[in-house]
Symmetry: C2
Subunit: 229 residues, 2 copies
DNA sequence: TCTTAACGTGAGCTTTTACTCACGTTTATT
DNA sequence: AATAAACGTGAGTAAAAGCTCACGTTAAGA
């Protein structure tokens, strides 16, 4: 019999929903500035222009802020993924797909600087499960595309390829966004594009610059498309 | 006039030097288990079978443990680097150099599991400077070799190439050592070798499987040695 | 309008943990 | 042997920060 009023509740009125959003925005900013460990819940509440009591009305503890932030970014990531799904996949080349994907994700990071911080905080126990899920989704996305382009790959090969691509992309995006100036950032992203193109072209057995539609018919295209430039 | 006895001092007797080592070993193990934030100095002292007072006699604060650990790993890394310097660089191929380097570093990580933890803790303010130095050294090492093999590259290109290679190697070694079984780990390392070989071969304009001695004489060897295997 | 429930507040309680210090013990020096 | 210096100890301190709670305010339902 839990007749006692619940200590924590979800917001039901409009003002409290807005407050929860403000608290998450504040947490995002404060974690970005100080990191999760150094940030205090009182600081987050102050930044959100609310009281510490209100924060704890909607979030059971400090970790819950991190988890809620991760979920919010998860939503945004899913939206990004569907937005980046090419409208004309058959007409695109492997190089073009990779380039668009990297540029799109880079724009996302530029617009969501707190996301990089969250990734760095990913060792936190409360986030581990969610992050594995997230990475798994991304790896599965890459793996799914790869499996389509290269049906001759075994599921194990597809899995490892997805994980490797995910790790490299994440590392190089992070490196790129450590650069302060846009020129250095773009140079780093170009290296990422080159590396992923070379790797996937080799592993999938797909040439870099041939529209993928041309390859749809033949199974396991064994064309080792090596070229000078 | 600082006639007052120093609060912290370096060990001068043998027993205290051994104690400092034990404290560092304990810190390494505890940070690996709990992470830096969750670990307590009392826990470290207990693991080292000493008292909290002794710990603070030799380390001014908790951060100093992290810094000292990083320095100790820095020494080990330098030893590894000189050990991995090939004895017959001219007879080796690009693919062979990369493979040996990745295998050597992997063995190092297997023998020093705390090092991976330390890398993850690298955002800590006390470590940032040291880590940049470390990464810079590795990037410079790669860049130095690259500049030798490809004198036509500009210093800026060499720099970015070193940073990119360092980031990718670090990410894939981390991914590999997340795998529990040796087979998965080796599969991931093989992908790392392939990716680095493809990338460096392209960027340096050096074929993958030709002994480097053959290329020493000609300046800026413009041989696009592309081959099927 | 009256009642109830959701919402908002911030002083302060409680727990945690980095760190100290006064005192005892071992090693070096004369 | 005597003195000093380095070393070792752990109960206790102090400050920080997560979190509570009793009370006041706003919105919803009858």
């Amino acid at each position: 019999m839990e007749t006692s009023p619940p200590r924590r509740r979800d917001p039901v009125q409009a003002r409290s929903r807005a407050r929860v959003d403000a608290i998450l925005d504040a947490a995002d900013a404060v974690f970005l500035e100080l990191g999760f460990a150094e940030a205090t819940t009182n600081h987050v509440a102050a930044r959100a222009q609310t009281s510490i009591g209100s924060l704890y009305r909607f979030f059971p503890d400090k970790d819950a802020l991190l988890v809620a932030l991760a979920e919010r970014y998860g939503d945004r990531m899913r939206a990004l993924a569907s937005q980046l799904t090419p409208m004309d996949p058959e007409g695109a080349t492997l190089r073009g797909l990779i380039s668009d994907g990297i540029d799109g994700f880079s724009a996302f990071l530029l617009a969501n600087p707190g996301f990089v911080t969250l990734i760095h905080e990913a060792r936190h126990p409360a986030l581990v499960a969610g992050r594995r899920h997230q990475e798994g989704q991304m790896a599965a996305l890459i793996g799914g595309l790869s499996g389509k382009l290269a049906p001759h790959l075994s599921p194990e090969e597809v899995q490892i390829l997805g994980e490797v691509a995910q790790a490299v992309l994440s590392a190089l995006q992070t490196l790129a966004h450590l650069q302060a100036d846009a020129a250095s950032r773009e140079a780093t992203l170009n290296e990422a594009k080159l590396m992923m193109t070379l790797y996937l072209s080799r592993r999938l057995g797909v040439p870099e610059d041939v529209p993928l539609a041309r390859l749809g018919g033949e199974h396991s295209g064994q064309n080792s498309g090596q070229r000078g430039a």
